[in-house]
């Protein structure tokens, strides 16, 4: 090994160590903050368990069983210790280990958010490109109006209206939940993603039911992403389209399609990756309002219900997962940067 390659290897190792350290410090900070905020919140998990009419001895027993009688730092220390041994504790809401709960609810949100981001990208990118290439014309104004609508419409209201029209009036969409009641409990869980599980089980009626149930919430959920992605795409494209190399391409007589997609769009791919990753991260955090309207048993509902109960085991694990999602998305977009932009290699 030459000294140059040793030095390269050394610097890569140092970089990896630095990144890992930074990730660990971020996650630790996140846990610390969540733990102490959770403890100062005026929510009493004991009361959630024993009910408002329990007597003092029952209350005291539950208080002790939850370990709340110990000093805060001791509680945090023993939580970290459990965490290092892979024990995230039990959830008050379900009585199950938190990790099992998350393994159950997260795929529901992953499936919904992934479909939503696919819709978001499929609609948002072309819309943004169209608006940029038709700047100042009717199409641009309509696209901008649409993005404004996407940003400003409360998703809860939009979900209710869509439910009323497409479920109650037209009967196109499935009802609430992830699948028709007739199939509930009958599809073997393999991945937790119902579209895949129903397909793997070969039950195409169940697949159709799952698809009918997911399409409407996914489309509604994607609405905000469409607005965000199209707006950013438009802005990036406008910047590129005013560059000299575009003028040169036009002078050379290249077709509009080639200029837009082959040159301008090619140069904004890296920036768009960050935008899409951020939008996807936001959706994975849990779309609690849409999950509420469509009774979607996902991560957002789980986190919110746990938070309202003051169930800190569940809340901490969820926060940790959200942190990991953002770290993972950052890493993925960093890796994709290198694919799309040779200068970053």
């Amino acid at each position: 090994m030459t000294s140059a390659s040793v030095s390269l290897w050394g610097s890569r190792m140092a970089g990896t160590t630095r990144r890992s350290g930074s990730v660990l410090a971020t996650l630790f900070g996140l846990l610390l903050l969540t733990f102490f905020i959770g403890r100062v919140m005026p929510l009493d998990p004991v009361l959630a368990i024993v009910g408002p009419d329990a007597d003092a001895s029952t209350y005291a027993q539950a208080y002790k069983e939850l370990g709340l009688d110990k000093p805060l730092w001791t509680q945090f220390g023993s939580y970290l210790n459990d965490l290092l041994h892979g024990n995230f504790g039990k959830a008050l809401l379900t009585g199950h280990p938190v990790i099992e709960d998350i393994a159950r609810v997260f795929p529901a949100t992953l499936e919904l958010a992934t479909l939503a981001i696919v819709f978001g990208v499929l609609a948002g990118l072309p819309l943004g490109v169209y608006a940029a290439t038709h700047q100042g014309r009717a199409g641009d104004h309509i696209a901008r109006l649409f993005t404004l609508f996407g940003y400003s419409t409360p998703i809860f209201w939009l979900g209710m209206m869509a439910f009323l029209v497409f479920y109650a009036w037209l009967g196109w969409a499935g009802g609430v939940g992830r699948i028709g009641l007739a199939y509930d409990g009958l599809i073997p869980t393999r991945t937790g993603l119902l579209l895949i599980d129903t397909a793997l089980s070969g039950d195409w009626e169940a697949f159709r039911s799952a698809l009918r149930h997911i399409l409407l919430p996914a489309i509604i959920l994607s609405f905000n992403s469409v607005a965000y992605i199209s707006r950013m795409t438009r802005s990036f494209m406008l910047e590129q389209l005013s560059q000299e190399y575009i003028i040169t391409a036009r002078v050379k007589g290249l077709s509009q399609r080639r200029i837009v997609w082959g040159h301008a769009f090619r140069n904004i791919r890296v920036q768009l990756l960050t935008i899409v990753a951020l939008a996807y991260g936001g959706l994975l955090e849990g779309a609690v309002l849409i999950e509420t309207v469509f009774a979607w048993p996902g991560f957002g509902q789980y986190l919110t219900s746990s938070l309202l109960l003051g169930d800190m085991n569940a809340v901490m694990a969820c926060v940790l997962l959200i942190g990991l999602i953002f770290v993972a998305l950052n890493q993925i977009s960093d890796a994709l940067y290198k694919v799309f932009d040779p200068r970053t290699r």
């Binding site: 005026p42 009419d53 609430v176």
Partner: protein, 540 residues
């Protein structure tokens, strides 16, 4: 200028046309399977299925169909107790012992036969585990130390319940027929899953071991509960093959689904949605009277309220009529007594009305002619916040400046349990048992007012309202053997509570409205939330 490939546009047009042709718009009604009952309700408070720990109305409705009790309240006539696992019972002459004779041939879902040992173990563990529902039994004097002697099997099908202190056996029977702690568990199955000394508690949190009309197949918290018919049920198999309960917290989604026929029963809908459905031919709205009371509570820790004239003034500053006419429809019915409606012992309402002039006079007499500033705690949900807003406005008319502090149930009742409030709009008061003592014990009785006593399960203690005379009368009435003398005592208690201006001022008695699809028959909502689905069927 072409921006898009023409093939892409053709493809999109073809996909759109295919979608529109395929998904023909339909106004057809949804329809649940004829042999399955689909219930939509909120499951956010459904934290445990263990009869020793399961609080809340939702879990009572689940467990009532998975487990059985020794006896039941008749759903159509709540004052009547009917045999269930016990085919008959006797009360001893000294009223200190109840002997239950169990029905032979009853089996649990596991196939194990029911024995008196199961009954004794099920009730004992509620007290020895000391979880959420233990206070029900501790109030009768049961302790972890005495339950082995007082709750015991005498033979395979004879269960004996000794009362640790004198009380009305009818009250205890009512508790056995309504309390979610009185479900009988298959001891063998539960103990097979016990961890250490937990008597199966961890396992029973998420599983069931009952003898009820349905077996629990799946419970996914905050998602769905699936139950299937138990074919060997002692009353014969239920008419429905399967019951599906789905977590639905959004009222409008519940409304649309029940109207469309995709739900058979919808629980927990907002009043506005229920109102909109009352004339729909597709559904029936069933009003179920609960025993709990909506009230305005004053804390006697607040020196202002120690003056009876100030309490009288506040009592006159509640717009009972306005609140009951405008806010309470679909939530409750007017009740100004700390006793539930329909009981023989209950006197007619005292007829309090909003009377600002008289309230001002009383305040002036008490030296508060310019009023005072105070806090008013309320849950953020309807109807609590609406009652609080109304009260804030009427208090202001007499110069009392109330600042509303809102919070979740946990926060508001937490403050009440800690005796840290001034005025509070709340709901409570037992009342599941059809007996005057049930409400009086919860709302008025306060045997030890010391802070150190920590009797936070008594709402009387939470308000620091202490009346030795009322306490003594409540105890006396509970133990009185003669029915007419007992009736007179309960009436005297109500009059005295009025004279002493108790710190809990009842406004309305809770009702629960359940929306049932028109083709569902024999769904009778139970006042104690133990609605049994054994006889429910659909007529199409």
């Amino acid at each position: 200028m072409k921006l898009w490939p023409s093939r892409l546009r053709q493809l999109l047009c073809a996909a759109l046309t295919a979608t529109l042709l395929h998904t023909s718009p339909s106004m057809a009604r949804g329809e649940t399977p004829v042999d399955q009952l689909v219930v939509g309700m909120s499951m956010i408070n459904l934290l445990s299925l263990d009869p020793a720990a399961a609080t809340g109305l939702e879990v009572a409705e689940v467990n009532a169909n998975v487990y059985d009790m020794l006896l039941e309240q008749d759903a159509s006539a709540p004052d009547t107790l009917i045999p269930a696992l016990a085919e008959r019972w006797e009360v001893s002459a000294d009223r200190m012992r109840i002997t239950f004779h169990l029905r032979p041939g009853v089996t649990f879902h596991s196939g194990q036969p029911l024995t008196a040992q199961d009954v004794a173990w099920s009730l004992q563990r509620v007290v020895t585990l000391n979880r959420a529902l233990a206070s029900t039994w501790k109030a009768y004097g049961y302790t972890a130390q005495n339950v082995a002697q007082t709750m015991r099997a005498e033979g395979p099908l004879t269960f004996v319940l000794d009362l640790p202190r004198p009380t009305d056996p009818l009250l205890v029977l009512n508790t056995l027929a309504t309390s979610p702690s009185a479900f009988i568990i298959d001891r063998h199955t539960a103990l097979q899953h016990a961890q250490g000394e937990d008597q199966g508690a961890a396992w029973l949190t998420t599983h069931t071991a009952g003898s009820g009309a349905f077996k629990l197949d799946i419970w996914r918290a905050n998602d769905v509960i699936l139950m299937t018919r138990f074919d060997n049920y002692w009353r014969g198999p239920a008419k429905m093959r399967r019951v599906i309960m789905r977590n639905m917290t959004e009222s409008q989604a519940l409304r649309l689904m029940v109207e469309r026929g995709d739900l058979d029963v919808a629980r927990g809908m907002a009043a506005t949605d229920i109102k909109a459905l009352t004339r729909s031919p597709e559904v029936n709205v069933q009003t179920i009277a609960r025993g709990t009371i909506y009230y305005v509570a004053l804390s006697m820790e607040q020196p202002l309220f120690q003056d009876i004239r100030v309490r009288q003034a506040i009592r006159l500053l509640i717009d009972y009529q306005g609140i009951n006419d405008v806010v309470m429809p679909h939530y409750g019915v007017a009740n100004q007594r700390p006793l539930q409606l329909g009981l023989n012992a209950r006197l007619d309402d005292p007829g309090y009305r909003l009377n600002v002039q008289e309230a001002k006079r009383l305040l002036a007499e008490a030296g508060h002619e310019k009023g005072f500033a105070i806090t008013l705690r309320s849950l953020t949900d309807s109807p609590f916040i609406n009652i609080a807003t109304s009260l804030q406005s009427t208090l202001a008319q007499a110069g009392i400046r109330a600042t509303i502090i809102t919070g979740t149930g946990n926060q508001i009742y937490g403050a009440m349990r800690d005796r840290k409030f001034d005025i509070l709009v709340g709901r409570g008061g037992g009342g599941a048992e059809r007996h005057p003592h049930s409400s009086l014990r919860a709302l008025v009785y306060n045997p030890d007012n010391r802070e150190a006593a920590k009797l936070s399960n008594f709402q009387g203690w939470r308000t620091s309202f202490y009346s030795a005379e009322l306490n003594q009368l409540i105890e006396q009435a509970e133990q009185e053997r003669d029915a007419s003398r007992q009736l007179a005592l309960y009436q005297r208690i109500q009059n005295l509570y009025d004279q002493q201006v108790g710190a809990i001022m009842p406004i309305s008695q809770m009702t629960d409205e359940v929306v049932v699809h028109a083709d569902v028959r024999d769904y009778i909502g139970h006042s104690a939330a133990t609605t049994r689905l054994h006889d429910v069927y659909k007529q199409r």
